[in-house]
C-alpha cells in the first residue's frame, strides 16, 4: 500500500509539474540560472586556485651569496632556515652546480658558452633556493635573512616582485569569490521566491482537490508530498539545463581560457573529471532549494 501511495504521489507531482508547463519552464529556468552561477563560481575558484598554486610553486626566494663564501659558511644559515616552520624546503646550489646548470640551460647558445670559457674564474655565486609554504611566509623568511650575522656573506636575495603578483592574484580571487557568492545568493533567493510562487499557484488551483482529500482522510504526507516532488523536479530539470549549458560553454571556451592562463590549467579536463561530482552537487543543491520552497508554500498555504 505504501508503494502504491508512493507511485500515486509521484504521478501527482509530475502532473503538477506538467499542468502549468510554461510556468514550470520559467521556474526551472530561474533555478538553472542559480545552479549555473554556483557551478561557474566553483570553476572560477578552481581556475584561480590553480593559477595561484602554480605561481606559488614557481616562486621561491633565491639567496645569492658572495663569491668567496664557502659551503661551511652557508650551512648555518640553511640549518637555521630549515628549523623555521614557514620554510617548506631549501636547496643549496654550489658555485660549481650553478655553473653546470647555467651551461646546461644555455647549451644551445654557443656564444654564451664561448664567452663563459673566456673567463678564468667561475663568475656565478653560490645560491640558496628557499621554498615557503605560502606567499605570506616570505616576510618571516626575509627577517631571518636580514639578520646582522649574515650580512657579510649574503649579497642579495629576491622575492618581492613575486609577492606583488601573488597579492594581486589573491585579491582578484577574493573579489571574484565575493561577487560570485553575492550573485549566487541573489539568484538562490530569487529562485526560491519564484518556486514558492509557482507552488503556491499549484496549491491554489488545487484547493478543491485538497479539500476533498482532507474530507476523505488522505494523510498529510499524501497531500503535501506531490508539492515536494514538484520542487524536486524543478531541481532535477534545472540540473539538466545548467549542466548541458555549462558543457557547451566549457567545451568552446576552454581552449581560449587555457591559452589565456598559459596552459597552467585545463578547464575542460577539470570539468570532465569532476562531471559526476558536479551533477550530484547540482542535484542536491537544486532539490534542496526546491524542497525548501515547497515547504514554505505548504506551511503558509496548506495549514497542515
Amino acid at each position: 500500500m505504501l508503494w502504491l501511495s508512493a507511485i500515486r504521489v509521484l504521478k501527482m507531482g509530475l502532473k503538477n509539474f506538467w499542468r502549468n508547463f510554461w510556468i514550470s519552464f520559467a521556474t526551472t529556468g530561474i533555478m538553472a540560472l542559480t545552479i549555473f552561477s554556483v557551478v561557474v563560481l566553483i570553476i572560477l575558484n578552481f581556475i584561480g586556485d590553480s593559477a595561484l598554486r602554480s605561481l606559488e610553486q614557481k616562486i621561491d626566494v633565491s639567496v645569492y651569496f658572495k663569491s668567496d663564501v664557502s659551503n661551511e659558511q652557508v650551512q648555518p644559515i640553511r640549518e637555521h632556515l630549515d628549523t623555521i616552520p614557514e620554510v617548506k624546503e631549501t636547496r643549496y646550489v654550489t658555485k660549481k652546480e650553478a655553473l653546470e646548470e647555467f651551461q646546461r640551460k644555455h647549451s644551445d647558445n654557443p656564444l654564451i658558452i664561448a664567452s663563459l670559457s673566456e673567463l678564468e674564474e667561475n663568475p656565478l655565486q653560490p645560491t640558496l633556493v628557499i621554498k615557503a609554504r605560502s606567499p605570506e611566509d616570505f616576510s618571516a623568511i626575509s627577517s631571518v635573512l636580514k639578520d646582522d650575522q649574515y650580512e657579510g656573506i649574503i649579497e642579495k636575495f629576491n622575492y618581492e616582485d613575486n609577492q606583488i603578483i601573488i597579492e594581486k592574484l589573491n585579491q582578484t580571487i577574493a573579489l571574484i569569490e565575493k561577487i560570485g557568492i553575492g550573485v549566487s545568493i541573489t539568484f538562490a533567493i530569487i529562485s526560491v521566491l519564484v518556486m514558492f510562487n509557482t507552488i503556491r499557484l499549484t496549491i491554489y488551483t488545487q484547493k478543491d482537490e485538497i479539500g476533498v482529500m482532507r474530507l476523505v482522510g488522505a494523510s498529510n504526507t499524501f497531500i503535501t508530498a506531490p508539492y515536494i516532488i514538484e520542487g524536486v523536479l524543478y531541481g532535477f530539470f534545472a540540473t539538466i539545463f545548467s549542466t548541458v549549458t555549462l558543457y557547451i560553454l566549457v567545451k568552446y571556451l576552454a581552449p581560449a581560457i587555457n591559452t589565456f592562463l598559459e596552459h597552467q590549467v585545463d578547464v575542460y579536463a577539470f570539468f570532465m573529471d569532476h562531471l559526476f561530482l558536479i551533477v550530484i552537487g547540482e542535484l542536491v543543491f537544486g532539490a534542496a532549494l526546491g524542497i525548501a520552497s515547497s515547504m514554505i508554500a505548504i506551511r503558509k498555504y496548506l495549514k497542515i
Binding site: 500515486r8 478543491d208 479539500g211 474530507l215 476523505v216 498529510n220
Partner: protein, 230 residues
C-alpha cells in the same frame, strides 16, 4: 447490544466575541442508529457536524467517536479518524474536472486502495445510489439530486461505520430529497450509523426515526421516533 458510536459530554463551543454556538450538549448515538439533528438556521447544527468530523475542537466537554477522543486527537491522526467516517455536504464538494466514477475513485486512491479493488467497488456503490451507467458523466452534466448521490457514493465507497450529512437535501425538490433519504436508509440498513443535520420538516416527519432538536446551541428535545417540532 449496540455500542455508542458517538458520545458527547457537556460540549460547548464558543467562538470569538463570546458567541456560544453550542452550550452543554450531551448526546449518545448507538451503532446502526439513524439520527436527525434538527433546528433553525443558527441553532448549532453545522457547528455540531464540524465538531463531529474533527474540523473544529470544542471549547469544553468530551467527544468520543468510534473510540477516537476528538478533544485530544493529534492533528496528524485526524486523517486516520476520517477514514472511519463518511461526510456529505450540501454543496456536494465534487471535483468538476473529474467524471463521476473518477470522483468516487479519488477517495479510494488517496487512501491507497489497489486499482483492482477500486474497479470493483466504484460500480457497486454507483448502483447503490442509482447512478449505474452514469460513471463517465461529469458533475455539471448531472442534476442537483444526482450530484448529491455522487457525494454520498464517495462518502460511502470505503464503507465507513458512520455517515454524517449536513443539510444534504437543502437545495433539492421534495421528491429528489426523499430519494436521497431512501439511499441513506438503505445504507443504514447495511449497518452504517447515519446522522443528518437538517431543517427539512417533511423529510424528518416521514423518516420516523430518532430526532434531536437543537435551539440556541442546546438540545431541547430528543425523541426516539420524533417529529420536527420547533
Amino acid at each position: 447490544m449496540p455500542e455508542s458510536i458517538i458520545r458527547l459530554r457537556d460540549i460547548s463551543k464558543v467562538y470569538e466575541e463570546d458567541i456560544a454556538a453550542l452550550c452543554d450538549v450531551s448526546l449518545d448515538v448507538m451503532e446502526k442508529d439513524f439520527v436527525s439533528i434538527v433546528g433553525r438556521s443558527g441553532s448549532g447544527k453545522t457547528t455540531l457536524i464540524k465538531l463531529l468530523i474533527g474540523e473544529e475542537k470544542p471549547t469544553a466537554g468530551e467527544i468520543v467517536i468510534n473510540g477516537w477522543d476528538l478533544c485530544n486527537i493529534k492533528s496528524r491522526k485526524i486523517p486516520y479518524f476520517r477514514r472511519e467516517i463518511g461526510v456529505v455536504f450540501q454543496d456536494f464538494k465534487l471535483l468538476q474536472q473529474k467524471t463521476v466514477a473518477e470522483n468516487i475513485a479519488f477517495a479510494l486512491i488517496v487512501l491507497g486502495t489497489p486499482r483492482q479493488e477500486i474497479h470493483k467497488r466504484v460500480p457497486g456503490v454507483l448502483s447503490l445510489v442509482g447512478l449505474s451507467g452514469k460513471g463517465t458523466r461529469f458533475p455539471n452534466e448531472l442534476s442537483g439530486g444526482e450530484q448529491q448521490r455522487v457525494a454520498i457514493a464517495r462518502a460511502f465507497v470505503h464503507e465507513p461505520k458512520l455517515l454524517l450529512a449536513d443539510e444534504l437535501t437543502g437545495d433539492l425538490d421534495a421528491i429528489y430529497a426523499w430519494e436521497i433519504m431512501e439511499i441513506l436508509l438503505k445504507i443504514n440498513k447495511m449497518g452504517t450509523t447515519v446522522l443528518i443535520a437538517t431543517h427539512d420538516k417533511s423529510i424528518v416527519n416521514r423518516l420516523q426515526k430518532r430526532v434531536v432538536t437543537l435551539e440556541d446551541g442546546t438540545i431541547i428535545r430528543d425523541h426516539k421516533k420524533g417529529r420536527y417540532v420547533i
